[in-house]
Symmetry: D2
Subunit: 341 residues, 4 copies
């Protein structure tokens, strides 16, 4: 059965695996102090156009988020969309490090200066947590993206209130190669205090490259990584993968391929008169269907029930670096069958 | 200037202080293992009509809440009104013990079976926290109360989903002596897994009597208390106070007095055509006024800005065991001055 | 039966209770922002001869220790004697805030520059915790005290390694009035980054006055207090007590009385040829006796088995502000009975 | 320069990489619910001869330890050798989950029933943590191993006191193929409540297979894994690797090779009259040398300074699945040069 379940169903891009194979029996030092990791880090500094960033290659997304946030003072809190990954899908990982997630209702899975200002207005004294970080993801949990103008405004409101701006980039490759995007890594780095380039959901075996621009957040970061169990002994595995992905355009080509496949699905749905649940422009597509229809679709396509309401569900199709055109065409046919009038 | 700022502005009921004075130089064992604490505990067992409850006399409300909740497994979460004390006014104390507070929008500052069921419906697997406890307060943060029928229904939904029901009773004396109340301690004990009788806000110097009925939550509880720094060396201070308050009717008389004073304010507001912000029946009264009016009122009455909106504020008048009739009459006059048409 | 069980068996000095009684029905603001707390804080600033310290009146010793230490960065650790209160008698309270206690074997329950240097020598990189605070108590867990010369040397080694020096002063009144002491509050304040004046074990109902000199440790401290449930609603209770104890010499008179009573016991033991287990000069006396003898003594005196070995136990006699001369004489007689040859 | 720095300097055994390559573009479900993970789990159940164990494939050693221990109740503590990995080399990871490590002085980096009994004897009430788990590693931090008789006795003392026995098996392959070993996986599983088979230090790219026999520790374990950020999206990477290593004898062959290489070094040292610092029988060799000699050796061999004393250091040579005979011979020559008399 064809699967559009997620973007981490396959291993990795064959080029990544080749790079791992080629270097496999070389002996290097551990914990990310090897030359491959150094090369990856230098390449990232080049891409973000900033030699002073601190870069650490992390094992996965949740541990990246919780490690970054764990560096806050104990009573400092993170503002997030209520739909944010840290608020919903990390089993309380942030709270387990002691920090409150202030969850904010929103539209389009995006935060705005107004929403942040409102939180700040309501947090007035030491009987409440002190909001200190804004967590956004790009692309968001619902496939929408931030524009440069929006990110500039978020930066401004963060500066006004002394907040860190942190971007979860689990799907940043798809975001930065999507229709309507006007951001790039250097701009993101300039506007955010920290962000990460997601590898797990973009063709690497695993790994996320965390970039910390704000010097306040840099000191002793490897202590935090190790304390949370996130320091890979064979750190070079991450170095080799990220260097291979980033030395040329592979990282973004993979994001672009995922988007192209998604757009084919998107166009087909549009032609069938189906409105997406969210105006995603990236590699995730959401549609709301009746429970009965969801079950019927699950019989022919592996895909996720992303939200369940009483009578309906929002199902999700995800494309990736590995999505094959023939599977997309098959999905489009199936959609046609279910939805033509 | 008259003050209706809160119910912990004064020391304690003189009878409480007399009891402390009378026993002051007696030598007892520490940490709540003394005879006064035992007497208080036995009296509470009598009042809740249950010899198998575990009772511990705690120092304050926040540490009671965080200690109880800290006993959950790490990934277990607490469902609370978004207005709940643990969600807003405890500086992230619950999260600091590692647990997520699942904040629920609601009416009247109260949870309902429907709201709880919805949370359970949306928490489906190990990528999310596991809701395990329902936190309510009685009276609530906005002075409303739970009826017996409502509490029975909450118990049912908790049983259905395997949830603990925990009642914050910081203002339980006011709740149980208010108009419309049909609950008593024995019923609350039967329907809740744990709850506490608040002393701090009801005429004691400090102290809350925690009652744990559910035997799953009882073992090793004093380890949790000590670990969080909540074990009072001179535990007998709490024993003496609670025994004095509970041996006769003093505890409830104080709650009743606070309510009577509040009702005089309430009736006056009503006669002036002012609608309360929340239909409180207990010792807190909320009214929404313009920012300008709030400032004017603050010039004549000490009271709290409970919520701040852009143009208006919800101010709060609180009565207590110590509220004097003459102050109430003075407040009523002031209200009359500001609000008569 | 006479009791030398601990220094928190009684309520408080009658003068303290009088002060509480006199102010009982005054209305003040909460959370330690009242005038009595301000007066106590100002008096403490006077006593430590430093207007820039941050003072907060805390509820108890364990919560003071854990709140102070909770302000460290997550991977920072505290160096303590293995006999230290935080290492042994706080049910893992420090670890519950996420921080490791590095326990150091020692003599006389005291840390030395050499012991601290050795810890620093062995903590070399991000695979280990980063020692950041030195925890000492004065008097120590075994009744010994630090001299000025010793404290100066500890300060030097702390400066060398960038460590905070924090003194647990649960029994500081006894320490500063003991034979051989050459420290005072102003000197302690100058040499330590933070310390506290213990009230619970020195004639107050409860309460410890925390003094933070180091400005790095001051910001947002009340957030930490509240987050751990340590913010007393009726904060003025602490203000009234500490002001009463400190406005004249009451605080130190109580410590002195405890020492005088202890010295009578000490002299008697010496005359009987019994060597104390530790060379205490303060209000705790330790002697090692056989298990059988310990049981016999417990039949006539309430006192604590402080350490248990296989065949022997170290029992402890503690005096306090409330210890009566007649009880001391009675104890001395009993000791005479057991130990005369 | 030849390197005996550690057993995680290289990637993985080529057979492991082949297995990853062969399955790379297959589409599987995530989070360890795929068929490869299932096959690995089933193979492990076979090897431990127990169908009721819970097995989860973890990303690394520290996160395995902290996740297992995080499941204890908050005030429960872990008894460990003071040399234990969790006590020294995990940057306070265990404490960061709230739990105290009770560090015990010992010989040979091993715990004994006597040492455990002593801890239990001294932990008597709720003022102290409650010891609940015994942490051992096999092979130990110093390359020594536990015999079956020793493990049986540890089991007995754990049963006596209601303690869990948890074995860190980061180097279990080397332990179980070493001279003098009489344990196997089935016996270890029967005697321990939980243990893990280390992959990172035994020829896998990364990964540790955690086996939980005790049913009390099994429920909701995946919540704990996810909460700590340890749930690998592409869980099949671990499944493929462990199945490949365990389906035949590869896992133990790699351990055996490491031991054989170590024994060649060991025999050479012995012939030179050098006594090992610890009587290791596995893939780590420790010798104490002067600081000057250590520096000289570092000029010719990459190896670790494991302990630093004032004038001497304990240096460590580690072999692995990837150690080449020619490098061993070269090391032996170098040792000969430095140590022949």
């Amino acid at each position: 059965m064809i699967s559009f379940n997620n973007d981490y169903s396959e291993g990795c891009n064959p080029k990544i695996l080749e790079a791992l194979t080629k270097t496999n029996l070389e002996s290097t030092v551990g914990y990310g102090e090897d030359e491959y990791t150094n090369k990856a880090i230098n390449r990232i500094k080049e891409l973000v156009n900033d030699q002073n960033v601190f870069v650490h290659l992390m094992v996965g997304g949740t541990i990246t988020n919780l490690t970054v946030i764990s560096g806050l003072r104990p009573y400092e809190a993170v503002i997030s969309c209520d739909t944010g990954h840290i608020n919903v899908h990390e089993t309380g990982a942030i709270e387990a490090t002691g920090h409150k997630v202030i969850a904010v209702k929103n539209e389009l899975a995006k935060l705005t200066p107004e929403l942040i200002s409102e939180v700040m207005f309501n947090h007035t004294d030491y009987h409440m947590v002190k909001p200190k970080m804004v967590y956004i993801s790009n692309s968001t949990e619902y496939g929408t993206i931030y524009t440069k103008a929006e990110l500039i405004k978020l930066r401004e409101v963060c500066d006004q209130y002394g907040l860190y701006l942190y971007m979860d980039g689990a799907r940043i490759a798809s975001a930065l190669t999507s229709k309507g995007n006007d951001l790039d890594l250097a701009t993101i780095n300039k506007l955010c205090d920290a962000f990460y380039l997601g590898g797990t959901k973009n063709g690497l075996l695993f790994g996320e490259a965390l970039v910390i621009r704000n010097e306040e957040m840099q000191p002793d970061f490897k202590f935090l990584v190790k304390q949370h169990g996130g320091l890979l002994a064979k750190g070079r595995l991450l170095g080799v993968q990220f260097y291979e992905a980033l030395k040329d355009d592979l990282f973004f080509e993979m994001g672009k391929h995922a988007n192209e496949m998604a757009n084919l699905i998107r166009d087909n749905l549009k032609s069938l008169g189906i409105k997406e649940y969210m105006p995603s422009v990236t590699n995730q597509i959401f549609i709301e269907v009746s429970n009965a229809l969801a079950l019927a679709i699950h019989n022919e396509v592996i895909c996720d029930d992303f939200i369940s309401f009483k009578d309906t569900r929002v199902i999700r199709f995800v494309t990736s670096f590995a999505t094959k055109l023939e599977d997309v065409l098959e999905l489009n046919k199936i959609m046609h069958k279910f939805f033509r009038k």
